[in-house]
Symmetry: C2
């Protein structure tokens, strides 16, 4: 592994993605369990950081965590007509348990609207029980034909928010509140710009009346749906008889929402920031912030250099940073640099005998500007006050990654008005973010997909795309009220 | 629910346990999924506190979290002979997925030694890869005939540590390190005393060469196995061909351990501390530390009282406490007291107009000494410096609960030397902790169980039971090196 090279993006983007994951030891295909993955410690640590930050945001918006059964009676899935059509083909089915064939088989949850609807019907009877704001961190299973690590796997980890409200207006407010939570998290923590929008009817969650989403731009020009927030209307309320009595004594079905993000966010993070040298992590997503590589030849140098490294590490740890001192013997500094770079550690500190004399260290950000000789720039930083300096460098790096990702997206976003131009953008496997007019029909949407493999990622919310302006559909020439976002997608 | 009463322990202990859970809204039987439960927000918040504290302890001892597949190929389970015998009867089997019958069925993991053994064989090749110290937070499934909420459920949540070492001595050190982590956690956080010991061959984990455990005393005199730590020897290493090369180039199988605690700890917590008024939580396990109940009659009183309540809450929150101000309208203070008591909130603060004048509040611990009139004692506490006072009260309460649990266990622990006496202790459904001599054979162990329903909970570690002293087996009169712990068990 240490000897193998990461395939450059320009050569084979899909292989590059797999190589980045393998070299950073983030995860691997399970192999023995079809379409499933093993998330290794470095990958799981990134997911844990996502969980911690999101969980804080969910609790700050009034949600409480709970845990519902993994197994769902098959009859439940069938209760909401669109839901069963959407999910039945992907289910994994338990037919035997405890040495016997089951009277009614269970499926492993592909999502939990149905079983949670069942319990909401037991827990909700009055408007005083509303809103009910629940979240679950769980594993779910969707038996997909084509899988890709983190992006689409048979089993994946996620959170699923499920809420019930007294009015449709309350539910819609919740849908957009949580969409904003996701967009804020992506921007502030993942350094990943997203576009908030509404899905077309064709791309809607099975059972929802409206699906909203955040769409992120990947380096190959494709879009990745990074989170969804659904207005379920009263569909599941009616399917599971979740009724409440309002203050006037009138009974009605609750209005529900659901919203989720999953371990596919780890894939989105990789494809937003990483480069041909491997994983790149924004500091707020990095399980290790700083790797210190001590440099020495003789034993007495070793002791002094390690003492200084420990002193610096202690100061940085006091500031809440996770620091690794790489004191492995029998390994050259260059090999260590290479390894920490591939693992995405944002900042490396090199410290040797000459640095000790000068009272400085050498620092190298994971992505650095090049110097006059075309080599990645290293900075000389005084040991005095290093905590403040490193803190500032990491803050700046976090922001720089966001700016870089946004700039790349903007450079690959076009407004297109002719079909020829549209086809050209998506020719030969290419993709960009394309703002174009569409006549609003599923028929046209599918015709465009058939012709180009590009799909409508979303109808942007106000301010997320070009200012709404009427035009003519790129494909049919029929009237269109606004441009929508097209791209190939993961 | 609010009207129903909690069944007293003396009347029906099993019903009391269920009532405590229902009244505190901790969890409920799923019903529609056989033997499974739904963990409701208040119960899940307790589990989250357990997770956070344990996860910190695991990481501090060098372990990293990862995530392995939920599904395990059936052929894997069969690779370790004792393992398959132990677990096969309890498996839930997935036979169909993605609309097709599977060529090889999967089981839902009952535990993950097998699948993790498979990946260890891919990841471990050299002594430099050891020790490998992995933990997984996961759901597992064991199809049990008789289930009891939290204590024994078809699906449960747990953590499973899995480690590989170069020598048996290293592995055994790990086994006992993690047993101590569990015992420390139980004592320091759950305020629950435990006895550390070794299981008899008959009670050993299927596939282990030795199983160690912590055993806790429940209020009905029964024992609850609260955590286990297994020495797996080279059994799984051989079954999954996990070999490494040592520094001299010699190849050998790794020595493995596994260790786990589960949501059954929530059941243990309930049965250690709760009383006929409902749930009792040690402060370190309480999702809500303090409930403030404002008391007023008129509107102007309301504003002043709520302002003071908010000021106190802010001060306590600054100290890291979770505080609820119960300002619900149309509900009498007494009903509020009742509800917070049933939910196990350690401290209640009452504040009314007269308290405002005096610059004091009334406090009531969840379990309070009784005053001269036989009523639970309330304390008058000055608002000035209330953060310090409340912090001290909660610390003292944490310690008092531990002392109380230990005293109850000691009062119900006996050393017994005759069979008649032994039978008498366990007659009519009763149980105590009994130290008695045993001849070391499975035959005698089972004969004692048949006669009394009491089982050997553990052979105590040094210092955990009476000083080792030879004697005669309670049942057969044959020689015994030391007394072992007998009790009925959950």
């Amino acid at each position: 592994m240490a000897e193998a090279k990461i395939t450059p993006r320009s050569e084979d983007y899909a292989q590059w993605y797999q190589d980045v994951i393998a070299h950073a030891e983030l995860a691997e295909q399970a192999g023995v369990v079809k379409g499933c993955m093993v998330i290794r410690p470095h990958g799981y640590a990134i997911w844990e950081k996502m969980q911690q930050d999101l969980d804080r945001r969910f609790k700050a918006t009034g949600h409480k965590n709970a845990c519902f059964p993994l197994l769902i009676p098959m009859s439940f899935i069938a209760k909401e007509a669109e839901h069963v059509d959407g999910f039945a083909p992907e289910l994994a089915i338990v037919t035997h348990a405890g040495g016997k064939e089951l009277e009614e088989p269970y499926c492993i949850r592909p999502t939990s609207e149905t079983i949670i609807g069942h319990f909401f019907s037991k827990w909700i009877s009055s408007h005083r029980d509303l809103p009910m704001l629940i979240n679950q961190w769980a594993n779910v299973m969707r038996w997909e034909l084509r899988t890709r690590i983190f992006l689409r796997t048979g089993e994946f980890l996620w959170q699923e928010g499920h809420t019930a409200h007294a009015t449709h207006a309350d539910a819609r407010e919740e849908v957009y509140r949580m969409l904003d939570v996701y967009a804020d998290f992506a921007r502030e923590v993942m350094a990943m710009p997203t576009i908030r929008g509404v899905k077309t009817a064709n791309e809607r969650f099975a059972g929802a009346v409206e699906t909203t989403c955040i769409e992120a731009f990947m380096q190959d020009g494709k879009a990745l749906q990074a989170g969804t927030s659904h207005d379920l209307g009263q569909n599941f309320g009616k399917a599971f008889d979740v009724q409440f009595q309002d203050a006037e004594g009138k009974r009605d079905y609750v209005w529900q929402t659901s919203w989720g993000v999953s371990t596919r966010l780890v894939g989105a993070l990789i494809m937003t920031h990483s480069d041909d040298d491997g994983l790149v992590l924004p500091p707020k997503m990095a399980p290790i912030h700083v790797a210190i590589v001590p440099i020495y030849r003789k034993d007495d140098e070793r002791a002094a250099v390690l003492a200084a490294a420990n002193k610096i590490a202690a100061e940085l740890r006091d500031d809440g940073l996770v620091v690794e001192i790489d004191d492995r013997e029998g390994m050259k500094p260059g090999a260590k640099y290479y390894e920490w770079e591939r693992k995405g550690v944002p900042l490396r500190i090199e410290i040797g005998p000459r640095d000790l004399e000068a009272g400085t260290v050498m620092t190298k950000l994971r992505i650095a500007e090049t110097d006059a000789n075309g080599k990645p720039k290293k900075d000389v930083v005084p040991m005095e006050g290093i905590g403040v300096t490193v803190g500032r460098m990491l803050d700046d790096f976090q922001q720089a990654l966001y700016d870089r990702a946004l700039a790349l997206r903007e450079a690959n976003t076009v407004s297109v008005d002719t079909w020829a131009e549209f086809e050209a953008v998506f020719a030969d496997g290419a993709s960009k973010f394309v703002w174009a007019h569409w006549d609003g029909t599923t028929e046209t949407e599918l015709a465009i997909k058939d012709a180009t493999k590009a799909t409508i990622r979303c109808i942007p919310l106000d301010g997320e795309g070009p200012a709404p302006q009427a035009g003519a559909c790129i494909r049919t020439g029929k009237p269109s009220a606004q441009r929508v976002l097209f791209a190939k997608n993961y």
